[in-house]
Symmetry: C2
Subunit: 660 residues, 2 copies
């Protein structure tokens, strides 16, 4: 890519990363801004301006091509407003919650775990100060925690050695405490609000936005917290669309919502966000992937769970092929998506050196998940989860099928018929009906859905005791006796196999990726700390080409508008800057917008038909005929040549000073 080639020639690390400068640039160039800013805004809600929207659209377009088009995934667009029953089944109504505590005096609300963490860290810091030690910020989570504890001040107070040890133990497993346990910690260690007031007991707060559907008040709905459930409830239709075969994948890009208790950290923790999710359905007995070879040699920076359990954080660089072979990554399909995701993130401009794959530890992982890896990206907020790649097993499809009585299963013709030992249930229809009346159907369906082990158990009880108490789907128990029901082993030849597919889910937080990309792309010119540049790859740059004239001469203005039309025909997003600013200022503005190329029209254009072409990072310029320059720009934007390639077609040029 031209950006990368060119960037090797400039010093992008002349100045330390300056978040204040970046924030100012992002606001000034309207990448994003607090929503309803003129009304004072609301924490956790942001609007994307023209630059942010275009950057997001380009990231999503690249995502769609990289995943959906490349792999013929079935795209969906399901509703955000979700019936409460669906999210009850998925577990979100009961479990998608955080614990909050309230300042008993001023009513301020905090996330309990974040507050405990911030206070204990402040005390540890104060202890170090009191002991005269240098306070080393832990590299990993430094900025992230600074944010969290911004109102919690540390005082230089020495702690007992035992207390230090206990605080460190608590912090190491802060994510594992239940609400009541957090309440005990708060009491035991007299943890108070930043205003030094007492705190309430932790209370659970569901993170879904709730609303009523329709005017009756009878139908509850939630804004979806993920797009995934919209895939699962449509599984039967998707399977049919795919001619009944697995593996296949569905994909969806859309907004999801989490009503965070106290969102901070800018775009990284918001209440409304764009997700891109893939649900890849596989045979649980065969998680190989047909295109695994294509990613076998992709190198990942792995942080496996056993390393973390030893309290270490060093990364193991390893190919996807090796990781799967050694059993570090559970299966080929999961490995395939890890490899593809590494390729995607680096393609759009994420710095590979600040990207790692962290495996979930046993206590972090949902109980149903077989394996889960997060792509974490390092920014000034620390290492942040941006993509989760989980093997969700058959959990979601199973619970929805059980709840709705719909068969969310795959039927597969067996190459070889197979013989199976089963237990067959026979009823004395008349006697059974007389005894159980309207409950008969419930009992029958319960037995029909029981597995072999359970039937064997009932049979054994009846054989032994002459009866068996069976708890049925209606929650009641019924007494079965051998005169009513006979359970006998039979041998069946099966031509079909039926199974619930497992789901491998790569789930992308687009806003987090976008923000990380902004930090990774930002640097400042060596000669001036305030002259920021955003070095986006052409693939995702909001605008690909800046078009400027050397002066406001009407003849030149006509030319730049003509070039603008020509670029539009080539499908290249360009922007004419015909403001009264100096050309240096225009270039500086261009660099802040991350526009990789600039076409300058000068008086030679009118005379010789030449244009100059500027590369953003190096500020180097080339000159050539209008036709050659436009053709070169087209190739540069498509990525078929880089700046070095462009230099072979066009001449070097040094006629215009790139300063104000």
């Amino acid at each position: 890519m031209s950006g990368n080639t060119a960037s090797s020639e400039v010093n992008k690390t002349a100045h330390e990363f300056d978040k204040t400068n970046l924030d100012s640039l992002l606001s000034r160039r309207f990448f994003f801004a607090p929503a309803f800013e003129i009304y004072g805004g609301v924490a956790g809600l942001y609007d994307y301006g023209p630059t942010g929207s275009a950057l997001q659209a380009n990231i999503l377009d690249a995502w769609r091509k990289h995943y959906i088009i490349e792999e013929d995934m079935l795209e969906l667009d399901t509703t955000i407003m979700t019936l409460s029953d669906v999210l009850k089944t998925s577990g979100h109504v009961d479990k998608f919650a955080d614990w909050m505590v309230k300042d008993k005096v001023n009513g301020e609300i905090f996330r309990a775990d974040h507050l405990v963490e911030a206070v204990l860290e402040a005390r540890l810091k104060g202890d170090k100060e009191a002991r005269g030690k240098k306070v080393e910020e832990k590299e990993e989570t430094d900025e992230k925690k600074k944010k969290k504890k911004k109102n919690v001040k540390s005082e230089a107070v020495k702690l007992d050695d035992k207390v230090v040890e206990e605080f460190e133990y608590i912090l190491a497993q802060i994510d594992n405490y239940t609400g009541p346990q957090l309440g005990e910690l708060i009491k035991k260690w007299d943890i108070r609000s930043p205003a030094n007031n007492e705190l309430s007991e932790p209370v659970e707060f569901n993170l879904m936005f709730q609303s009523d559907i329709g005017p009756t008040g009878q139908i509850k709905g939630y804004l979806r917290p993920e797009t995934a459930q919209g895939h699962f409830v449509n599984f039967a239709r998707l399977l049919e669309f795919n001619n009944g075969k697995v593996p296949f994948a569905s994909a969806q890009i859309g907004k999801s919502f989490r009503n965070e208790i106290a969102p901070r950290q800018g775009l990284l923790r918001v209440r409304e966000f764009t997700m891109a999710e893939i649900e890849h359905y596989v045979d649980p007995l065969d998680k190989r992937h047909a295109r695994f070879n294509e990613v076998r040699d992709v190198v990942l920076a792995l942080l496996p769970k056993d390393v973390q359990q030893e309290g270490r954080t060093e990364l193991t660089r390893m190919t996807v092929g090796d990781a799967v072979e050694k059993g570090i990554v559970d299966n080929e399909t999961l490995g395939y998506f890890l490899g593809r995701t590494q390729l995607f993130l680096t393609k759009i401009g994420i710095d590979a050196a600040r990207l790692r794959c962290r495996q979930h530890m046993a206590n972090e992982m949902a109980h149903y998940a077989a394996d889960c890896w997060d792509f974490e990206i390092q920014s000034s907020y620390g290492w942040i989860e941006c993509v989760g790649c989980a093997d969700r097993s058959a959990y979601d499809l199973t619970v929805h099928a059980a709840k709705t009585k719909q068969p969310l299963r795959v039927q597969q013709r067996l190459d070889q018929p197979r013989t199976v030992e089963k237990l067959d249930v026979q009823y004395d229809a008349k006697a059974f009906g007389i005894k159980f009346k309207k409950d008969a159907a419930t009992i029958k369906s319960t037995l029909a859905e029981s597995d072999k082990e359970r039937l064997q158990c009932i049979k054994d009880e009846m054989d032994k005791d002459g009866k068996s108490l069976v708890k049925c789907a209606d929650g009641k128990e019924y007494e079965l006796t051998p005169d009513l029901v006979k359970i006998n082993p039979i041998t069946v030849t099966e031509h079909m196999r039926e199974f619930t597919p497992n789901v491998i889910e790569p789930s992308f937080g687009i806003g987090r990726i976008l923000y990380s990309l902004l930090e990774h792309s930002y640097w400042a010119r060596e000669q001036d700390k305030a002259r920021g540049v955003l070095s986006f790859p052409p693939l995702v740059a909001p605008i690909k080409v800046l078009i400027v004239a050397i002066s406001n001469d009407p003849a030149l203005t006509a030319v730049i508008h003509d070039i603008s039309i020509k670029l539009r025909k080539l499908g290249i997003a360009s922007r004419v800057d015909d403001s009264s600013a100096s050309i240096g200022k225009k270039y500086a503005r261009n660099d802040e917008l991350g526009t990789p190329f600039g076409i300058t029209v000068d008086f030679a254009t009118a005379k010789n038909g030449t244009l100059t072409l500027r590369e953003r990072d190096t500020t180097k310029q080339l000159i050539g005929s209008t036709e050659d320059v436009l053709k070169t720009v087209d190739q540069l934007v498509k990525g078929t040549i880089d700046w070095e390639g462009a230099s072979k077609v066009l001449q070097e040029y040094s006629g215009v000073q790139d300063v104000e």
Copy 2:
């Protein structure tokens, strides 16, 4: 376009439009389905499947290119969750409501106006039957009303002539009644629920979904009912991004929500929908458009308000240029967007013969709007509003500016400085301060914001009565006297002009356009009513090319996968059908998916390297080398040649029967 050229050779009207067949096709091919269908669904919420999603994505892509890219609009992505204050200012909290009535016995809820309309129409129909007249369905709204009144049965009961007249009068202005007026009609005419029960008084129901933001319960939010307010609250940033100049436009594609009382009519009245909205900001004194000439000759089918007021519905075909010149359309910018929208809708496949531009009548239009035209598309539901083009005047920016005290105005340097007569307010600072104390600032700011007329009025009162009672921003009245305040005429030279721009808003309901397109594209083969075809233009077809082999021979399967990879490289969405179905069945399935082209691999392919190319509508086939066929497909999909053009490059072919 190839589709259109080819279609002239086939008889698409051999069978009457059959909605049942179309509905079955749309469900079977998963264009869309009720959301959470396996949970029983909820009225007004639909999920788009792979075909519907792709069709929608292609329509949106065409929209983005036609409007945003072509006109350098500033794209936005603002939040769906909206602070209640914003929607209070815009008027939605108070006024965005429908009137509902409840069946007093079974609790069923109805939209009051829809129920009154359905009952009166049923009675008029019954009257006609009783009089032995043929019941002519009004062409225009026939199907639409059938849906509305589906539970309201008509009985052959003769009505008094006067009653007939009054019913017709009520129906003609059914949209104009307030809730209490609807209540009176219900009492006066003993209108009952379909179950023949009494109805409650009409109650207002706000159509916005409400929720709480954050855990405190203090911050109310609504899901936006339109994307427009997200543009307006960002106006200051957008203007700055555009270097302070108008005209310019912002654009946004996104989900909006309306909590309909009783949604019916499939995709046409839903609770969650995708909108695409443009807010074009213009100088109120200059609503010309720089590119007006480009649409001057576009012909619109107009239904102006004066024609409707006379109870007529015939359309006037007229160019945009004439419509603006004759003052039928208010201004050039509005006319420009009408022309552009006509071009857009027909480009994506909407039948121009079923498209009209209906002007809002005075009583339909928001009080602040200068002019408003709806693009209505005719389908089996009648004429449905799909795009609204409104001149919203300066209303929105003015009310947000007033509420937030933020200047949402444009400052424009005047070419010629101008001299203005103003009224200058001078205070006796000390005496004023002593008299009004802490209220002094409020009074001063009220006067500072008063216009010339108001100041003149205060001055006149003081001159005449020696005092003036002035109501200030705090709602209180203060007595001003000439010893404290002097108001005198002065002459000022102004170099800048300041104004609030007017907003021209084209607003697109994407789901309604998509559904209309499905109806306009649907027809059935002459030889078999059940063999449906969706004749999408290649531009929006979900899949552009079907790839099939004449048999399941592994050699041929390898070839079709190779072609699939080649098409992907060309950026063309294709679908391999390697199922075990017959080739006739594959073609039929392809036609139902609306895929315009099919590539068939047969044994000649292996031998001679030839492929055949099938056109969906005519089922005609051409044959040529792999290279020629792929090149031709590329051109067909891009629209640079049509089928006739393709026939000049490739040979005619009639080797494969296009039936099962």
